[in-house]
Amino acid sequence: MQQQRRRNAEQSPSFLTTFALAGALLLMSACTTTTKELALDGTFPIPLISKSPVQMGIHLDQTLTSFTHVETIDKKGSWSVALGPAQQEMFGNLAIGIFENHAFVDNLSVEAPLDGVLKPTIREVQFALPSQTRSDYYEVWISYHFELYDRAGTPISEWKLPAYGKASKTNYASKTQGLQAAAMAACRDAMAFFSINFSREPAVRQWINNGKPLMPAPPDPSNESI
């Protein structure tokens, strides 16, 4: 009987420790917000459009290909949306559809037969959950910025492209899936808008109509006299 009591007395501290640890873990899990990570899931279509008579170099720098948007929403947690890894496929398929020929390049100046270089960047990303907007939709906005250079690396034109995508909460079981679908829709929107409007950009149209010439180099600020 005494032995039994001693055994119980020996076991009690370890039992209490386990209980306390479990309680602490529960409290910690309640206080800690985990970041939900999501990446774009799906494939991008090739635009069905009359091709521009341009052999284009596409320069995707590391800032774009590793672009991740992190946002924390009060009482809803944090989200990390990795948009960068999908940009290569997105711009690859876009280029197949709208340019006569294309190649991914590392620099802004290229050799013939390429006529110029297109450099896309993501300037800003925003998203909203249905609970924030009191609507049925997950929404994603991506602000793209495009720069076009001639083959010597001289700027021809630059323009902004705001893209928007939404996904109804009735179609997706979780917030992660809903945001993923909205982000995909925003990327498709960017592709659609770019496909239709690339050759309508006044400076781009003029450059193409003039035979894609080398542009005059911008004045060097250090040589300018005051």
Binding site: P47, L48, S50, Y164, R188, D189, A192, F193
Partner: protein, 227 residues
């Protein structure tokens, strides 16, 4: 012995029918159509059912409803060839995206004048475009239920009820003539119940399924029946 088995089989059938009636709530469905032009399909022709997404609408049709209508239109003895929404959107990208899709048939001729687009439509054999608009929503709900679990067992007690209302409209465009062929609408309403006396028994009214099946059947009849 054989007679006993036959009586048991008969009882099982009656029980199965009774359970089926019991576990599904009542649904009232109404289908209406307006025809503007004659319609016809050949074996090579196909149809696509797509949801309207090009405006900030509160009535965006659910993806599973669009899928349900497509599946029901392609099944059965009078089934037609249906292209999936995703396949169509990708094949004709970027012309039917939310930002670029034509809002009405007035925008279609300009689109179809593009040789590359007209050729792709011929390749996939598209004859009719069915735009779907609408949604299923819960219009009312009531009742309460409480459940208890004890070491000796558990159970629920109470009564829940809710009413769902489905309202969808399909606008049918002729891709060959670039004109509206007509409209078909489907409305369904039904009340679901969950009485619980120890075990909850859900009596679910399949409102959306009913709207889907009746809309798909009417669409099939509409595009195949001609004038």
């Amino acid at each position: 012995m054989n007679q006993t088995i036959r009586i048991l089989n008969h009882s099982a059938k009656i029980a199965a029918i009774a359970i089926t009636i019991m576990v599904s709530g009542c649904v009232t469905a109404t289908v209406q159509q307006v025809r503007q032009t004659e319609t016809a399909m050949t074996a090579e022709d196909s149809v696509v059912v797509i949801g309207r997404r090009n405006r900030p609408s509160q009535g965006e049709a659910e993806l599973d409803f669009i899928d349900c209508v497509s599946r029901n239109m392609s099944s059965g003895g009078n089934g037609v060839q249906v292209i999936s929404e995703n396949q169509f959107m990708d094949a004709l990208f970027p012309w039917f995206e939310p930002r670029t899709a034509p809002l009405n048939t007035n925008d279609l001729p300009a689109l179809l004048r593009q040789p590359i687009l007209a050729q792709r439509i011929r390749e996939i054999g598209l004859k009719y475009l069915v735009w779907l608009d609408g949604r299923t929503k819960r219009t009312s709900q009531g009742g309460s239920m409480s459940c208890t679990i004890t070491p000796g067992g558990g159970g629920c007690f109470g009564f829940l009820t809710w009413e769902n209302d489905s309202s969808y409209e399909a606008s049918i465009w002729d891709a060959h003539t670039a004109r509206t062929a007509g409209r078909v609408s489907s409305d369904a309403a039904g009340t679901s119940y969950v009485p619980a006396l120890v075990i909850p028994i859900p009596l679910i009214a399949r409102v959306q399924t009913s709207a889907c099946v009746s809309l798909a059947e009417q669409l099939k009849t509409f595009i195949q029946s001609g004038a």
